[in-house]
């Protein structure tokens, strides 16, 4: 079963600093416990499916320049480059 440590580990993996874990842990736990209901249904004959399309319905290969200077409407850019924090 999921415990506080695991919640903190997953939060870290999902890149979120948790300021306090208490409430999150108990609520996430409750939700996961509720999900246990999925163990009670027989799904052995089910297959995973999705929407389908044929190849010729896809976008045609055409270069259309984006007319706006998108970069200028974004933050953190410096001499054309986007600025990110240093890597480790």
């Amino acid at each position: 079963m999921v415990d506080e440590e695991e919640i903190i580990r997953v939060a870290e993996l999902m890149k979120i600093d948790l300021e306090e874990h208490g409430e999150h842990v108990s609520r996430v736990k409750k939700m996961l416990e509720y999900f246990d209901i999925l163990d009670q249904i027989d799904l052995s004959s089910e297959e995973i499916t999705a929407q389908q399309k044929s190849l010729n319905e896809l976008r045609k290969d055409e270069f259309i320049p984006n007319d706006k200077k998108l970069i200028e409407s974004l933050k953190n850019f410096r001499e054309h480059y986007v600025r990110a924090p240093k890597m480790n």
Binding site: R59, N66, V82, R83, P85
Partner: protein, 468 residues
């Protein structure tokens, strides 16, 4: 025994647009961050729109590598955080609900061995980190997203290679094949990259990443094999890990990153429906596929009696084979092939020169005809080719303007020979004593006529004069 496997990434640069948006596939001509749109920047609310031709190109590659191609393909999200990844997930393919990437198992014949292809998948390239601040002094990372979303084909092989040399031969065959298909330009900077994995007898598998070029790949593989062998000899366990190629120090370094326990949480990318590729589409792609290099080579050898080495050179290169195919007629194919491999290759030896060259197939045919009818010498043909490459003028004009017509009039050649016999008395004596030195005199005639004298006739005349 050493086992090497490869993961090759090849950009489909021959496409006009990116994999999921209409920005340019070949991002190289743009200022940084000027080949981007809401889709490839992963802005909130934007949706990917799959490029039909990208699917077709990737399927052609799969077919060319004899891979199984499925009825339906699906896309998946590979979730991880990195600054060059605008959505913080990469749209790629995966075979979890059966084979659903563009290509399943196939193989490539390398010398006497079949190298097994495990799968081929279509995916998006990330952006580029231009500058990575890693030290205390540098506090930022700079990113250019022009490349983000460029269509990329990943080819994964089984660990079937036994040596770095075999890897090199395979990569040459593969790049020729991709170029021949007209879907990629492996020669473009960064257009084709490969990661490798290496294991030696009794050791664990080690992945090597961050390799910039094929040249470095070979070096990295050599280094890694040596490293593993020396560990083995000292009875030290070879850890299963990912190592990075340190280009500066030319060694592989253990990655401290937690890449191993990275959980990518792969799941279906539902913004892109599963794409149905029916048999008739695959048949059409197969039909439209250019002839394979090996089949071309075979045909050249069998049909025209061209030497295998010559056939190989021409078949492996798209430019030469195109030039050859459109120039040959059954009677002079062999001559044209030889003209290409002895003369044309000499001065059209880069992609750039190939692009700029104005030589057409007609030029080649006409030059061969002129040589065969003894209108010009081989030597003159070479001179003419150089001029034609630059100007593209028609053959006749070039031969006239450069005065390259062959001198085959006996009396004219005779006059020149008499003059040379006067000037080179010692050589004449030598030639009389040792007939094999006669070529010196022939050379003098050629020099004097700027290579235009009919060499056969010249020799004949010199010999008869020596016997007088």
């Amino acid at each position: 025994m050493t086992k090497i496997g490869l993961e090759i990434h090849c950009q489909l640069t021959k496409l006009e647009s990116k994999l999921f948006c209409s920005c340019k596939a070949n991002y190289r001509e743009f200022e940084p961050n000027h080949n981007i749109c809401p889709v490839c920047m992963g802005l909130p609310g934007s949706l990917p729109r799959l490029n039909q031709k990208a699917v077709e190109s990737a399927t052609s590659i799969a077919l060319a590598l004899t891979c199984d191609t499925p009825e339906k393909i699906a896309f998946f999200r590979k979730n991880y955080f990195y600054p060059d990844l605008p959505k913080n997930f990469q749209i790629t393919q995966l075979n979890v609900y059966g084979d659903m990437s563009v290509g399943g198992e196939g193989y490539v014949r390398v010398e006497d061995k079949n190298i097994k292809i495990r799968r081929i998948q279509l995916e998006e390239d990330p952006g580029r980190i231009i500058y990575e601040g890693a030290s205390e002094r540098t506090k930022i990372t700079l990113v250019d997203y022009n490349r983000a979303g460029t269509p990329l084909v990943e080819i994964v092989t089984d660990p079937d290679f036994e040596s770095p040399r075999q890897v090199r031969v395979f990569l040459n065959i593969l790049s020729d094949l991709l170029e021949n298909l007209g879907v990629a330009e492996p020669g473009l900077e960064g257009a084709m990259r490969a990661d490798g994995n290496v294991s030696i007898e009794g050791g664990n598998k080690v992945e090597i990443k961050n390799i910039g070029s094929f040249h470095d790949l070979e070096k990295a593989l050599h280094f890694e094999i040596t490293r593993q062998q020396s560990l083995f000899e000292r009875d030290i366990e070879i850890a299963q890990e990912t190592r990075h190629w340190d280009d500066r120090r030319k060694i592989t370094v253990s990655s401290r990153s937690k890449e191993e326990d990275q959980d990518y949480r792969y799941f279906l990318e539902n913004d892109i429906p599963w794409v149905k590729i029916d048999q008739s589409t695959r048949d059409r792609l197969k039909e439209n596929m250019p002839e394979s290099i090996s089949s071309k080579k075979e045909r050249y050898v069998e049909k025209f009696d061209i030497a295998p080495q010559v056939a190989d050179i021409i078949a492996s290169d798209r430019y030469y084979s195109k030039l050859f195919e459109s120039a040959y007629s059954d009677h002079n194919a062999k001559d044209i092939a030889n003209l290409i491999t002895t003369d044309v290759i000499g001065f059209i030896d880069t992609k750039e020169k190939q692009e700029n060259s104005k030589i057409t197939s007609e030029h080649l045919s006409e030059l061969i005809d002129a040589i065969n009818s003894k209108t010009i010498t081989r030597n003159s043909a070479k001179v003419a080719l150089q001029e034609i490459m630059k100007s593209g003028k028609n053959t006749k004009d070039v031969l006239n303007e450069m005065d390259l017509g062959q001198v085959s009039d006996s009396s004219e050649i005779d006059t020149i020979i008499s003059q040379i016999f006067e000037d080179e008395k010692q050589a004449v004596i030598d030639a009389k004593e040792r007939p094999e030195t006669v070529n010196f005199l022939v050379g003098k005639v050629m020099q004097k006529t700027k290579g235009k004298a009919d060499p056969v006739k010249t020799l004949e005349l010199i010999k008869s004069k020596l016997n007088q």
